[in-house]
């Protein structure tokens, strides 16, 4: 069992190692040149070290991370609460769903010009963007999860003496968890993609802003460092929610 897990892990890492070796070789042999200049992987690692040692990367990373954590947490909490309410209370759903249906399709970055005018360029702006980016999809997934719980479980719980509130908390919400986690997994990665884009366009600090500065200096190695950090953070956030999902639903699903 453990042996097969190790084999699986090695098989998962193996293509990445091959890719990095090929990248290193192609860059060193100047197989890609001109405007597609690609620095070797070792140069990217070295630049990662320099940026970290100088504190530039850490500062930018902390800025982006704190924005994502605050915006995503607030968006998640609000999305789950509103999702539960709209999924459970029919009238509330009927009242809010036209508004949600209109606002939900607007991409989070579409709000940026408006929010820049309303909120100005400050910490509130990226947090609000992340909030919007997380809130609607999580609300939608939670609401759908609540609505699609098999009504027979509700009937059974009612026959066992449970009140509406007890049914909601002990049956419906736990059974909606898989849907809620689907939203969280998708949107945690999306929050990182959106913050980077927002920082590139409108906010002078953070990983996105660092990328834009690197672009103006034609420092492709720095851009690649930032992209790798973005990829790793998307991956880690998604893994975190997969882990939580396993804890909360793994036993019974």
């Amino acid at each position: 069992m453990i042996f097969s897990r190790i084999i699986k892990s090695i098989l998962g890492i193996f293509p990445i190692i091959i890719f990095l070796i090929l990248w290193e070789l192609m860059a060193r042999m100047h197989l890609i040149s001109g405007k597609f200049f690609l620095p070797p992987f070792s140069m990217v690692v070295s630049e990662f070290y320099n940026l970290t040692a100088s504190g530039v990367l850490g500062k930018s990373f902390i800025s982006s991370l704190s924005r994502v954590l605050i915006g995503f947490s607030l968006g998640t909490i609000a999305g789950i609460i509103f999702g539960i309410l709209t999924g459970w209370y029919y009238l509330l759903d009927r009242t809010l769903s036209p508004i949600i249906s209109l606002v939900y399709p607007i991409p989070a970055l579409g709000w940026l010009p408006l929010l820049m005018l309303w909120l100005g360029i400050g910490e509130i702006l990226p947090i609000t963007i992340i909030f919007i980016c997380s809130f609607f999809p999580i609300l939608y997934n939670t609401s759908t999860g609540i609505k699609t719980v098999d009504k027979n479980y509700i009937k059974v719980a009612r026959s066992l003496g449970a009140s509406d509130k007890e049914i909601l908390t002990s049956i419906v919400i736990p059974l909606a968890l898989p849907n809620i986690f689907t939203g969280l997994k998708l949107e945690s990665g999306m929050a990182w993609r959106v913050i980077i884009a927002a920082e590139m366009v409108a906010i002078p600090t953070g990983i996105g802003a660092l990328m834009m500065r690197a672009e103006s200096l034609m420092r492709i190695d720095i851009i690649i460092v930032c992209l790798i950090i973005l990829a790793i953070m998307c991956f880690l956030f998604e893994r975190f929610f997969i882990f939580l999902e396993m804890i909360f639903t793994g036993k019974w699903r």
């Binding site: 027979n152 479980y153 009937k155 449970a162 736990p174 968890l177």
Partner: protein, 348 residues
């Protein structure tokens, strides 16, 4: 435990149902799909709207919600909560009642032991077999000591063999707890085995209520007779014990050998599918073999019903269509009927 009385109960399926179920009785609602059995169960549970009055004992309970009717309900598809393990599924109603942890633990352990599922306490529903789920669902329905137990086709999700044992056990548990029980099924055999009394339902109406043998030997109308399989019913007397667990009786001119349990036999009944038909005299001892003439054939896609006149009586036999096609049976033809001895039902 209360008697249950339904007075003039109607809704979109049930039509003017009047019914009294006695304290501690296991009452079976029997009928084909769509007859209104489960709907009637839901009415008793207070899960759907209806006109009329339901009494538990002398108390009208129409205004009580399902929560206050003290009903244990075993639903057809069980619906064990998938996110709760067996222990928590059974404990659910007790937690809702805010019982103390020790009380919950001891009650759940008592039920686990009663239903012989102690080893399953920590498993989740997805890890259980059909029969195990059935037991857990029953334990869950019984956990809060309900006054009435409603069972909606409790055996339809398990294999025949398990179902046979479980219904014996179910009956024992019901008698042990002395809980008034309404049991819904479409299986006559199941009903006969568990019921104290049976109500036959057809298209929302109750057609007949009686003990299993009353239903089988004295169907009140065509609908009941058709549902129970149109048994051939013969009046009998002059029982002679032949030893070896068999006896001979005279049934309206036929000398029939029957399983013997040392009781006087007034009637025998035999379902059409339990009367074989042969074009030639079958080999073997001349027991329960009768010569007659076909007087009518009713051919359908799956079965063929053949009316045969034997002496002064008319017997109905049934053949699968593929067997009928192989034979050359037609009106007026002489045939031999063979009664399946072990399937002869006797009314003492």
């Amino acid at each position: 435990m209360p008697d249950i009385e339904l007075k003039n109960i109607s809704n979109y399926i049930c039509k003017n149902i009047n019914l009294k179920i006695w304290d501690k009785e296991l009452f079976v609602l029997l009928g084909s799909n769509g007859a209104g059995k489960s709907t009637l169960l839901n009415i008793v549970a207070g899960l759907i709207d209806y006109q009329g009055t339901v009494f538990f004992g002398k108390e009208k309970i129409d205004k009580l919600g399902v929560k206050n009717r003290k009903i244990g309900y075993l639903f057809q598809d069980l619906h064990l909560f998938p996110h709760l393990d067996v222990f928590s599924n059974i404990a659910y109603s007790l937690k809702i009642e805010k019982k103390l942890i020790n009380e919950i633990k001891s009650r759940v352990e008592e039920l686990l032991e009663m239903l012989r599922i102690e080893s399953l306490a920590n498993r989740y529903p997805k890890q259980l077999s059909g029969g195990e789920k059935q037991r857990v669902a029953l334990a869950r329905a019984l956990a809060f000591n309900p006054e009435v137990l409603l069972l909606d086709e409790p055996l339809n999700k398990i294999d025949l063999q398990s179902s046979k044992y479980f219904r014996i056990e179910l009956k024992q548990i019901q008698k042990k707890l002395g809980i008034t029980t309404i049991y819904v099924t479409h299986s006559l055999k199941e009903a006969e085995e568990v019921a104290d009394r049976i109500a036959i339902m057809h298209k929302g109406y109750i057609e007949q209520i009686g003990k299993p043998e009353e239903i089988f030997f004295s169907p009140m109308n065509e609908n009941v007779s058709e549902f129970i399989g149109r048994p051939n019913i013969l009046c009998c007397d002059n029982r002679i014990n032949l030893g070896n667990g068999i006896a001979k009786v005279d049934c309206q001119g036929l000398s029939v050998v029957i399983p013997d349990d040392n009781k006087k036999v007034n009637k025998i009944a035999l379902l059409p599918q339990d009367i074989y038909i042969s074009e030639v005299l079958p080999p073997g001892p001349n027991i329960n073999r009768f010569k007659g003439n076909i007087i009518d054939l009713n051919i359908s896609n799956e079965t063929t019903r053949i009316k045969v006149k034997v002496g002064s009586i008319i017997l109905l036999s049934e053949l699968p269509y593929h067997l009928f096609k192989r034979m050359n049976l037609q009106k007026g033809k002489q045939v031999f009927l063979i009664f399946k001895l072990k399937n002869i039902k006797c009314l003492s």
